[in-house]
Symmetry: C2
């Protein structure tokens, strides 16, 4: 692909180059122009695209490229691109641009579009309203199938999707929904009202975007209607935008679980200072909360020295507790995101994790015991590992695994119930709690059995 373009470009064979470029899918052109060509070449090649392809390519670029292109555009060119792109994409672009560019963009859109863009920009971030587009096909209930097709043909070109059609009354209340498939399978003279779906599933502008994508996914919709407080249809969320939201929310959850403040900037585009800002508060918090473990160890320092071998196993004990609890909290946090479990299931979860913990703890304790006696004591020659020391370590592993599983699985559920974010709680706080619990169990058994 690149070779052909390069050759045509070198030969200044503009007509062929134009033809070739316009046959490539806009997502691929955007990737190509962004990664292979410099700014001058990019502007040149971009100008060869047809109006429609140019717009489709433009929305695929990242913010920096879009900004540079807008600066290179004449007002006429800018207007041409803006006329073709969907309102929700325009709103997305505007959100990322500096004020001077925003001003130029708004100057070059017609008043109606400008108002629509402003409406979307006014909705809170992460709300359904902020990701919807007003470009939808609306029908009236007394239209025939033929009327409906006429309307779709007349207005469909500029709609983000034409396949789901919404039926509204005179005051734009959403009263029904139908699809092009149903229209195609009906007779030309059938009236919409007679076969439209009246049990319409919709979402409110202020609902969370995650609720929106979950609803769309649950019902396998291609688009989800968004209504205002008075049930008036104001926009739709299309499935391709829903997928972007799903990926964004997944990235956020994963970052939170790893104790990072979420960001939707791609890794390579994030500056060192930004990376630092997203990570340092958590590292700091966790480092300072580790004061607890240091304090416990300092308190028992003199006792622990009396059986010095015990300290060598502290990392293993704390690691096992952390891993056991981390497995449970991760599974539960994911199940909460996917709405598979809720607060009502807390006792089922505790019972399940108690049994899993007991089984896992028992297995680990037995293996640990055998390994300590056979490998650490005999092979590695660690004579300090007496039978009772081995018992203390193995018992700790058994008990801490059960505690870790129960704590790891219930805390996210309780967090959710309290309106906190389960994912944020995951690593950061659960790990600290588990560290303390593991240490206390260990020292407890040491005091009890070894009388340190």
């Amino acid at each position: 692909m690149i070779e052909v373009i390069d050759e045509l470009y070198r030969d200044r064979n503009i007509s062929e180059l134009k033809k070739y470029l316009n046959e490539i899918n806009p997502a691929d052109i955007a990737q190509l122009l962004e990664t292979v060509y410099d700014e001058r070449e990019r502007v040149f090649l971009f100008r060869l695209l047809t109006k429609e392809n140019a717009a489709d390519t433009f929305v695929e670029f990242d913010g920096d490229t879009q900004e540079n292109l807008i600066i290179a555009f004449s007002d006429t060119e800018l207007k041409e691109v803006l006329d073709e792109i969907y309102i929700d994409d325009a709103a997305d672009i505007i959100e990322e641009m500096p004020a001077s560019i925003v001003k130029r963009i708004l100057k070059n859109t017609d008043p109606e579009t400008r108002e629509a863009i402003n409406t979307i920009l006014k909705y809170p971030e992460d709300s359904a309203g902020s990701i919807m587009t007003p470009e939808l096909v609306d029908l009236k209930k007394d239209m025939t199938v033929e009327d409906a097709f006429k309307r779709i043909r007349r207005t469909g070109l500029d709609k983000e999707t034409i396949y789901t059609c919404y039926v509204t009354d005179a005051s734009r209340h959403l009263i029904g929904v139908t699809t092009v498939k149903e229209l195609l399978l009906s007779d030309a003279e059938d009236v919409i009202e007679d076969f439209m779906e009246t049990n319409v599933i919709s979402i409110n502008t202020l609902d969370d975007q995650e609720t929106a994508t979950r609803t769309l996914t649950k019902y396998d919709f291609l688009a989800l209607p968004v209504v205002d407080m008075e049930n008036r249809l104001v926009g739709i969320i299309t499935v391709d935008d829903a997928i972007d939201v799903i990926q964004e929310e997944n990235t956020e959850d994963i970052q939170k679980m790893a104790a990072i403040t979420p960001t939707d900037t791609p890794y390579l585009k994030t500056s060192v200072l930004d990376l630092w800002k997203k990570r340092i508060p958590w590292l700091m918090l966790l480092m300072i909360s580790a004061t607890l473990t240091s304090q416990i160890l300092t308190t028992f320092e003199n006792r622990l020295i009396s059986v010095a071998v015990l300290t060598a196993f502290i990392p293993m004990i704390m690691g096992t507790g952390g891993n056991s609890g981390g497995q449970s909290s991760t599974m539960i946090i994911r199940a909460i995101s996917l709405e598979e479990v809720g607060f009502k299931d807390i006792f089922r979860i505790i019972w399940k994790e108690f049994r899993t913990g007991a089984l896992s703890g028992f297995t680990l304790a037995v293996v640990c015991f055998v390994k300590l006696l056979l490998f650490d004591r005999i092979v590695l020659g660690n004579d300090a590992l007496t039978l009772t020391v081995c018992i203390v370590i193995s018992l700790t592993i058994f008990v801490e695994t059960i505690c870790a599983k129960i704590i790891g699985s219930t805390l996210p559920i309780i967090a959710k119930k309290l309106g906190l974010d389960p994912a944020v709680l995951a690593n950061p706080f659960i790990t600290t709690i588990l560290d303390v619990v593991s240490l206390l169990v260990y020292i407890g058994f040491a005091v009890l059995i070894l009388h340190i």
Copy 2:
């Protein structure tokens, strides 16, 4: 909703109940029947659904409910449901059923469907072929728009999507693609060949399902065509199935990062024994690999006792290293999944992480130093924390943070390059490596500065 159904059910008002039930969206009926009603009631209510609603509801149930319903069904009923559901859904159901049920299902499908189901079942798990459906609209290039609509009207009812139409030649080679939108916006006598898109993006049956969903998402398709080795069109993957795959793959990645063998069974449906099986190998591996840290500590035991206060800070040191590295590895693993970074970026990543690590390490070290001297020493009265001990701890934090960031970010990339799964490597191995590195840095500085 439930109240209405209960009342109609109690009053045995079957005709009203039937009407009411059939107006509810199948995804909601399935949820209702599964969570609120017992088996007898479920079978009764299910039988009130129209053929189409029954099929749409049936595919929404989970495996156990489906199995029980099939057992309750007569052969005629089973056949009716099977006739309505899509081939890919039938294949999904069959995969989860015991042999006796599979036999009954296959007995009650017509030979053509049976063959189609068997074809899909033969593709490797997680391949594009295993999630596709053969029910698509295919057109010929010499058809007019009118012909196309006739064909869609005649065969469209049973197709999983009619909106993307594929153009094939006599030997089913995929030569073009068009959409119902384009058809609607064209004139009745236009010929498909003149406006179809010939630069068709497709995927091979044996490609990974993740590649399939990534392609579909990249191009914002509603369906992605799947071709065999000879470029013959054999099926499509629709966007709703792609979303399910995306969620599945995300769950898998999250589970792997938390050191759990991935499972796609919902949490509450997973048995204790299964939970144990998915978790214990990793816990065991990590516990045993912690032998390394125990071994290091045992080796330096006598030296560490000479400055006993050092051991109290081991958990904090190891925790900080683990958290720093975990942040980097998580960000990189996610960036790899989203195809934002690749092996070619390794030096950019190292450089970025080195600077982020130096900045973070410096901040942490300074805060730690001040905290140790002012809080631990003065407030908590820990006199063992001399100036040189505080320097050793703070220097360790500075150096280990840099090491952790570089190790955490490069290992996933190298794993990917070697064809290993970056997510599996994440927590399990990186943590162990980071633990060892942190300890060695700590002991190193202690030997160097405190001459222990």
